[in-house]
Symmetry: C2
Subunit: 306 residues, 2 copies
DNA sequence: AATACTGTTCGTATTGAATGGACAATGGGA
DNA sequence: TCCCATTGTCCATTCAATACGAACAGTATT
């Protein structure tokens, strides 16, 4: 009895909710699928599907087994490709978490290329902006922008995001266009803080390699990247954001770049992963791809500031 | 081709360093073992053992595969016993880390009982006293005594260890026996600190439910539980330790308990485990057993101080 | 140099699983 | 309400993979 095959067909049946379709997709007759499921149920001593001839749905036990099986089969795939020279045959499931903005602007658009290169990989993508997040509730890899907290994980720096100072045309029409730091006195900054209740340090810029801040008034404080750019678009003040998050708005003319000699320091981007016994090769492959992708996208302007 | 069987025999061969013994222990003829290893090597495209007819030793690849295989087979065992009502058939490998003293005095002596109840479990026991340890370099469960750092793990409190104030007879003969807090002025304390360089707060005791400290002189500072009691045995001063660590010395008369109305606050004991997608049932079983063991061992004196 | 033991090879036999057709049950449509 | 298409189940047959054991070859010890 090949337990792994049993699990494979079980997983397929779970995903397709049909013995017939599962059989077709695996190149097996219905009868075999049926027998394998029956064998697995007998082995585990539980009913895995509630099935009539018309509907197949996993029981609670089945749902639990599905999750575990996915992991186990991933592990088996990992083992099988452990020593293969090219990693085109890496297989399994990747669970990653990205900042919303990065996912939408950069990674998701490029993801088809990744999946083409690794046709046997599956990606489960979660998006979060909370910083001190549940990192590693089973995630293989988490991307974080900015300073890192003291965490029991390995952080791999993969690049820096160059920053832009932006404002909406409507805002600039009303308050004028600032040309230097002194002009900021008459302007407003949308304050971004990681945790509400914290205080924003003001307008950030670099001078002689040193980080400096210019206190600025503001009427809105947000703790969310989406809300941050939305506030700027709404004319609530200046923002300082990674270029990648606003390049489209800048091209559209919905936002305007300004005070270009006084950019905030480029933001470090890191990939965090669990400090485990071993890092699966598929995770390494993904991180390498992500690092390359970022390297190609990060503005060269950012380099000297790092 | 049953890949799991292949891995099982591979693991057995690795552990026994012999095809023949592996075959015997698995109830298979040598030839089958040989063929299965060959099949696995062909599947993975690597040589797993350097073998002459006299010696079998794993290659580097073999060693790598061994670790992964153990995990995978553990996972399979876990799946197989997922839905069994009694957990006597739990199987797999447990990797745990305990404070040295607890391991030696409490857990290891009771471990045979645990392994008898779960005959298919294997335990890999690591002992450490460094507090902010690499918790979860693949550990299923880590026990910590005392305050917990801010960690990305789940902490399950399992009891409290009542404390004792101790000194050696030789020391007491020379410095006299302290009867109250005022007497401490003429005594020495062996200072225990978590990290060398830190300062000890002195003699700790509870009064009216509040934690208090009495500064005391000392000539030795240690950061290790073993060294701590050794220092006391050597007559270097008083110590305040969990009773479980010194009960034998107290019975022997090698140490003497004193200042019994002024005990340090009972130390909380916690089990830490990774906040993962799922906690394997074997880990739950182990933690339950450990919690029960501690509950039975913790001195009732400890209760009111918690 | 001989021997005892080890891993390997190979032809054979048997176990065990895949197959596909017949059957039964379900649920939608007429 | 009845019918039928479709789905999961069952079973006897077929097929193939694999376990087996004996013969072989190398090694290390005595």
């Amino acid at each position: 009895m090949n337990k792994l095959e049993l699990l494979r067909t079980f997983v397929r049946v779970s995903e397709l909710s049909s013995f017939t379709l599962a059989g077709e997709s695996l190149g097996l007759p219905r009868s075999t699928v049926s027998e394998q499921v029956r064998a697995l149920e007998r082995l585990l001593g539980t009913r895995l599907f509630n099935r009539t001839t018309r509907r197949v749905q996993t029981t609670q036990d089945g749902a639990l087994l599905y999750e575990r099986s996915k992991d186990l089969l991933s592990g088996m795939d990992e083992i099988e490709s452990l020593f293969s020279a090219d990693d085109a045959d890496l297989a399994g499931r990747l669970r990653i978490d990205l900042p919303t903005m990065m996912a939408r602007r950069l990674i998701v658009p490029a993801l088809p290329g990744f999946l083409e290169r690794f046709p046997r990989l599956e990606v489960e993508l979660s998006c979060t902006d909370r910083q001190v997040d549940l990192l590693r509730e089973g995630f293989d890899c988490v991307m974080r922008i900015g300073a890192l907290s003291d965490l029991d994980v390995v952080a791999r720096p993969v690049g820096r995001l160059s920053m832009r100072n932006c404002a909406s045309p409507a805002y600039l029409e009303r308050h004028g266009v600032p040309r230097n730091l002194q002009d900021l006195a008459g302007h407003r900054l949308v304050h971004y803080v990681r945790n509400l209740g914290a205080r924003s340090a003001g307008f950030e810029y670099e001078q002689e390699g040193e980080l400096r801040f210019q206190a600025m008034a503001g009427v809105v404080t947000v703790n969310n990247a989406e809300a941050y750019s939305a506030a700027c678009l709404a004319g609530l003040g200046l923002i300082q954001v990674p270029a990648v998050g606003v390049d489209e708005h800048l091209r559209n003319g919905e936002l305007v770049s300004l005070l270009e000699p006084w950019q905030a320091r480029a933001m470090p981007v890191s990939l965090l992963y669990a400090r485990q016994r071993h890092v699966p090769r598929r995770v390494q492959a993904f991180m390498n791809w992500l690092a390359a992708l970022l390297a190609s996208q990060v503005d060269p302007v950012a380099a000297p500031s790092g």
